[in-house]
């Protein structure tokens, strides 16, 4: 269970998150919806350690944690960025395996088994040696999901996963998110402005008004 207690985030004098309290249960898919500039991406960035909060506490299974200094042996948050942020100088396989190899110190055998499974699940078999510029938008996103999953996070966060996709690919992402829940029980947080998509995947929906408190 992930708990956010009294989270406050300001940019200068502008308060973006004001004393926010939120609980996300295990295996739940939480969709955070709202218009642009409302603070939903800021919340995701705070959760993943990309922004420093001004006040408040994060708890994972009742134990406080600082997203900026996550435990390397047990990554709590994985992130799929809006524009994927794949590393252009690395091919698909290296994008996925770099961090597990350097951070988790996975052996080549462990890496190979894990990666083959991910490639198969995410329909990326045969794309191993391609570079990001050779992939379509949907394929890039699936590589970004595989890369995040390879770090074995407890929670997977998505920032606007449908913003650059056509309706067919949108449904494919929804299927992947639901499959992940059904197969692994992974807790997932999805930031989106797309209410229809949120309804399609989420167990629970937070609107911007809820966040604004």
């Amino acid at each position: 269970m992930l708990e956010l207690k009294n989270i406050t985030k300001k940019f200068g004098s502008k308060i973006i998150l004001n004393n926010l309290n939120l609980t996300i249960l295990d295996q739940q898919i939480l969709a955070i919806v709202g218009s642009s500039g409302a603070g939903k991406t800021t919340l995701l960035r705070c959760l993943t350690g990309l922004e420093k909060i001004d006040a408040g506490h994060f708890y994972w299974n009742q134990r406080e944690f600082n997203p900026i200094e996550q435990n390397k042996n047990k990554q709590i948050m994985g992130v799929v960025f809006q524009n994927y942020e794949l590393f252009p100088n690395l091919n698909v396989i290296d994008n996925i395996t770099l961090a597990p190899r350097l951070v988790l110190k996975n052996t080549p055998q462990e890496l190979q088994t894990a990666v083959q499974k991910l490639l198969l699940e995410l329909d990326l078999t045969g794309k191993e040696r391609l570079y990001p510029y050779q992939l379509s938008g949907g394929q890039k996103q699936r590589v970004a999901i595989a890369r995040a999953l390879a770090m074995k996070p407890q929670i997977l966060c998505y920032d606007e996963p449908t913003s650059a996709l056509d309706p067919a690919l949108r449904n494919k992402v929804a299927k992947i998110i639901l499959q992940l829940k059904n197969n692994t029980g992974m807790t997932q947080i999805v930031v989106t402005h797309d209410m229809e998509f949120a309804k399609q995947i989420a167990d629970r929906i937070f609107t911007v008004n809820t966040l604004a408190n």
Partner: protein
């Protein structure tokens, strides 16, 4: 023909000094340029100021003057270099400044998302630089670095001013002694061969980076 063969040993001795200075400068100035550029981009203001001042001096004064200052000027305060060492120090200091500015531009052109992506994957600062940022920066800066590298091979001829017997000086000595331009024509041909080989090598490096975008 017999004359040409007779001056080849003297010219080759000059080539040796020219290449030693060139390689020594490249080996030291490129890593130092990267480190200096990181200093320029750091948040430590006094360090940035010192580095900016250093670059201003190095780029704002002629290399010839720097050579003279290091070999003839520094002994006044007790710092004495041999001719070769003085030449190497001057070239390394001068080219580090130029490389630093080129790398600074390269680092600044990498999107913030690449650093954030590496951060959420828990790569540390050095891993991020080594595997993600420096390869991308290298691809961007190779054409500009290439220009400087070609300039460097020609700039090594300036060390004649401190009496070091590099290629041009060897040709000059033979030309003055034998009252003929043939040695200088040969010097020109040797420079063209060296710069031709360097250009070929740079093209190969560029080609190697072209497999990703």
């Amino acid at each position: 023909m017999a004359y040409i063969i007779s001056i080849i040993p003297a010219l080759l001795a000059g080539v040796k000094i020219t290449l030693l200075l060139f390689l020594g400068t490249i080996i030291m100035a490129i890593p130092l340029g990267i480190i200096t550029s990181l200093g320029l981009l750091s948040a430590i203001k006094p360090l940035k100021l010192i580095l900016k001042f250093y670059i201003w001096i190095m780029r704002g004064t002629p290399l010839l003057l720097q050579l003279i200052f290091i070999f003839y000027g520094l002994p006044i305060i007790g710092i004495i270099f041999q001719r070769y060492d003085a030449a190497l120090v001057a070239l390394v200091m001068n080219y580090t400044a130029y490389f630093a500015e080129i790398f600074r531009g390269g680092f600044q052109s990498i999107p913030k998302g690449q650093y954030e992506s590496a951060h959420v994957l828990q790569l540390n600062y050095w891993q991020t630089l080594r595997y993600i940022i420096i390869p991308q920066v290298s691809k961007i800066v190779i054409p500009a670095i290439g220009n400087e590298v070609i300039n460097l091979i020609k700039d090594t001829s300036l060390v004649y001013v401190i009496g070091l017997g590099e290629l041009l000086r060897a040709g000059n000595v033979a030309s003055a002694r034998d009252v003929t331009l043939i040695p200088l024509v040969m010097v020109g041909i040797i420079y063209l061969l060296i710069t031709g080989m360097i250009s070929f090598l740079l093209k190969r490096i560029e080609l190697n980076y072209s497999k990703w975008k």
